[in-house]
Symmetry: C2
Subunit: 283 residues, 2 copies
């Protein structure tokens, strides 16, 4: 039976260090603050917001939610965003995307202060992650994958890591974080030929394709360590990952479940990034 | 015996399309111009400059060399660079790096107009390449690898491509260009365990590690297509690649030599990028 890598355990283990660092910043007169910028009230955004408020509340960190009407005009949104961006009491900004269709998110993505870009949405954050510079912000999800593997003491140096998915929110930045840990990295996607064979060669397999149950038992071995980043809804309306858990779990060495896996770590990474942002802004 | 992929053939085949595009821009009153910015007179820089001048001369394209003394002050260099950057008659800028030690190249890297960044040195260029957006500029060397494979009709979609080397000038951007062509991409480096086995699984193997002769016969099969990006000097003072050509060439299906391979394509890619830059600046 596989070891289950549980997000709640990872978050719990991060809590002490986060609170110590928070106290150190408070002692310097800094109150690290996250601004959540939400336009309208999409269910996904509200669910993530609730999770973030709960996590930050549990840590004792400050969050402010800036909610704007769904029909806000571009010009007004840009002005409001600029105020938040320029506000010295705000250390990190999380903007929910995609924006409503009449709005241009690109302008905000370009405008965000790179030192406040705690979910790594800006081109400058992407450039730093791409280059392996550690003063940038990768998006929180790949950050959560790395925290999970670190917590469960999964050695990455010299290991074969296969990432299924090449998005800018998970696959690509995660590949760069894995390179920074000296893993040999393979990136697979929909056009990969004989995906099961490529996946079976991995010491660590990360599923981030956004397709329910696509990683089946033929993609793994008894040595495989499987991290499931997928968040899908199955035919019965239940939350599920990209991994066919029932078939894969009995085979592999370690696995993260969905729900209760990587998704339960992202808001802790968000909190960690707000502290990092506050430190960067101290300099 | 392997098919040899020759840089001169690739450049020759690019010439007609480059000249047609150049003529189309001239017809609109544009004279696409490259500015080469060189500080001091390093041998490497001068050699590349000679190659670029020769290529651009052969194509009938305009180049201007801005040479500054090796002891130029940072502030003066930044002013001069700004003038070049702001000059509407300059469409592309190639800055030789690294700069002399007393200078801060980072400031110039940040300052360059992304639409003129024809060797892809700026963070914004890197971000576009990372994201797979095609209005950015990858560095010329990975661009040359792609031109070579295209010229020799090497299919990349669904193929296993292994890149040895993870630098920001070759390995990382090349991995993104390969993903854009829907290859399954593996990135290896000094910490990779059992490199020969990883390399043997590749349909296309790109050596960009900067270590003479590191790719030996045990890294390839009779199906391998090998592109050698290395430029090293061997014990006898002769130019050589990262591939042990004498041992590998008899085994593989296709191979690019050094010299006479990728290096002979980079200035053609530079010329292509200047035309792309001129078009972007038209908009």
């Amino acid at each position: 039976m596989a070891v289950q890598m549980k997000g709640a355990e990872v978050s719990a283990s991060m809590k002490e260090a986060l609170q110590a660092e928070h106290a150190a910043l408070r002692a310097k007169g800094i109150d690290p603050k996250l601004a959540i910028v939400r336009i309208g009230a999409r269910g996904d955004d509200l669910a993530y917001e609730r999770g973030a408020l709960k996590r930050f509340g549990g840590l004792g960190f400050t969050v402010e939610v800036y909610e704007f009407p769904e029909d806000i005009e571009q010009r007004r949104l840009e002005c409001e965003f600029k105020d938040i961006n320029d506000n010295p009491s705000v250390h990190g900004i999380l903007l929910f995307r995609p924006l409503p269709k009449h709005l241009d998110g690109e302008a905000l993505r370009q405008a965000i202060d790179p030192r406040k870009d705690v979910d790594g949405m800006s081109p400058l954050s992407a450039a730093k992650v791409f280059a392996g510079e550690d003063d940038g912000f990768p998006p929180c999800t790949p950050g959560a994958v790395m925290e999970m593997l670190e917590h469960y003491k999964v050695e990455l140096k010299g290991k074969n890591v296969t990432i299924v998915g090449r998005s800018m929110v998970v696959g690509r930045p995660l590949a760069m974080l894995m390179l920074a840990k000296h893993a040999t990295v393979t990136i697979c996607h929909t056009r990969t030929v004989d995906m099961p064979a490529v996946c079976r060669r991995a010491d660590v397999l990360v599923a981030a394709a956004g397709k329910a149950g696509m990683i089946r038992a033929d993609c793994v071995t008894d040595k495989s360590i499987v991290v499931d980043v997928g968040i899908n809804v199955d035919a019965e309306g239940k939350l599920c990952g990209d991994v066919d858990f029932g078939a894969v779990e009995p085979v592999v060495s370690m696995i993260s479940p969905v729900p209760g896996g990587v998704g339960a770590v992202t808001t802790s990474v968000l909190a960690k990034n707000v502290l990092k942002a506050a430190r960067l802004q101290l300099q």
